[in-house]
């Protein structure tokens, strides 16, 4: 009997891993305004899940591979004139989900697998699931560190990035693929619907706390880990759904940071009033 044989221990590690991953990747999700893409991605991987179930291969492998195709479609569509990620996302991902529904309606007997997919269960993760999440976390963090400055430039100023010769489409694909892989790795724990909470909540919370990019990553990761662990703990104490309690903690963290920032803003503006008097350099003619 090893330490990892305990369901709760495995759940804690899984939660910590997806917490870090969601927090760090989420910084780019927020900065590039991609929460909608992230939300929709969970639906877009659906046909992959169905096909994987039909073929009897791993559901998350199926979802992951299909998700990459969807990401490719989004990058290609968004390069058409007058389009951006939002429109391309809507089309590629609703199309993907529809395909999944068509495949499901043509078959019977998926309901059990599919429920696990939509709701998730962090207390059900196996040791091999843990290994996969850990590998994904390491790969994603290494790639983000390696491409950090290029991803930053494309996110901030894509025309400027193109002007210095960076391959903007390849970098877009890299970022969306990072998000996709993170989504797929998080789904077993939180489920397809709630995964977005961990990719948006902690980073959005960090954004309320600091403006500094270098601090956003550690703060978002810390918030992500805290929410994920707190969610698992609450769910084991009171036997409630772990994914939902993690998502609720993410929402609460954001709410608390929001209230704190409003209060702080109020205080600051009261203090600023006497300082804000400026003397014009020249009298108007």
């Amino acid at each position: 009997m090893t330490w990892l044989d305990s369901t709760v221990h495995r759940a804690m590690i899984e939660a910590a891993l997806v917490g870090v991953l969601g927090g760090v990747v989420g910084v780019f999700v927020i900065a590039r305004r991609l929460p909608f893409f992230t939300m929709a991605l969970t639906h877009g991987t659906f046909p992959g899940i169905v096909v994987a179930a039909l073929l009897g291969v791993d559901l998350y492998l199926g979802g992951g591979v299909f998700g990459l195709l969807v990401v490719l479609a989004v990058v290609v569509f968004s390069r058409a004139r007058g389009q951006d990620f939002t429109a391309a996302t809507g089309i590629a991902l609703s199309g993907g989900f529809a395909l999944g529904v068509v495949l499901v309606s043509a078959q019977d007997g998926f309901s059990k697998d599919l429920t696990a997919y939509t709701v998730g269960d962090v207390l059900a993760v196996s040791t091999s699931d843990l290994v996969i999440t850990a590998v994904v976390a390491v790969v994603v963090l290494v790639v983000m560190a390696a491409l950090g400055k290029e991803l930053l430039l494309v996110a901030f100023d894509r025309e400027g990035a193109a002007a210095v010769g960076l391959p903007t489409a390849v970098l877009d694909f890299a970022l969306l693929a990072i998000i996709e892989v993170t989504v797929v790795a998080t789904v077993p724990a939180l489920g397809a619907i709630l995964t977005v909470a961990l990719l948006v909540g902690p980073a959005a919370t960090a954004r309320l706390i600091t403006d500094r990019l270098a601090l956003l990553f550690p703060i978002a990761a810390a918030v992500g880990v805290s929410c994920a662990l707190a969610g698992v703990w609450v769910s084991t104490q009171w036997n409630i759904a772990a994914g939902a309690s993690i998502a609720l903690f993410c929402g609460s963290a954001f709410g608390a940071a929001f209230v704190a920032s409003v209060v702080r803003g109020r205080l600051r503006s009261t203090v600023d009033v006497p300082v804000a008097v400026t003397v014009p350099e020249e009298a108007p003619a």
Binding site: L152, L153, F156, V164, L213
Partner: protein, 256 residues
Amino acid sequence: MTQQQDRTAALVLEQASVAYGHVPVLEELHGTVRSGEAVALIGPNGAGKSTLIKAILGLVPTVRGRIEVLGVTPAQARRDVAYVPQADTLDPDFPVSVEQVVMMGRYRKIGWLRRPSAADRALAAEALERVGLSDRAKNRFGTLSGGQRQRVLLARAIAAQPRLLLLDEPFNGVDAVSQHALLEAIALLKQQGAAVVVSTHDLAIAHLACDEVCLLNRHQFGFGPTDEVLTPERLRATYGGHALELRGDRVIVTQT
């Protein structure tokens, strides 16, 4: 650098036509800008000023004729070309500090998978100093005023140590202080041998800062020394007969 090299052509337009897909935007442009010289691109809205800048960057294709940048094609020259976009095209909420924006000018020379060195940091700090914003280095980019952001973007271009600098309407909505800082920094780059292309609606600035003018409105209405090209007749032709006023040595286009 010898006098000979100083006078080499940094930008050559040879009957160049530029198009987005099948839509021709600019036709038959012809002219030369030498190192150490500045050219003003002047023309009404929709004339194709931004398009020409993008063509010089190799982002929009030249369909006929030729654009030569620093002796090679636009795509090959990118290493030595810096582009200053309009500050208001960038997301003011983006969590990036002023010094990080300036450091972006070094990315191309730093290369993939590497981090900025002490030398890169020194160059970025020096560039920020040149536009007079060293004290704002740690602030978030979006918290600066429009004119200050424009200066930060110029600092980013300076940090890239370009031999050709392209600026798209850098003076729009910029106050006198920022305009002065921008003009000073541009003048210093010219002195150091860089060629400058700047699009503007402000004819006074063309007089002040530029050796040459390119009058544009889908076609070229003149390309040459500022005093020769900025005549009321040519301006009227470029702006399609909109009213023009002459006040002293200043030409003012009243847009109607």
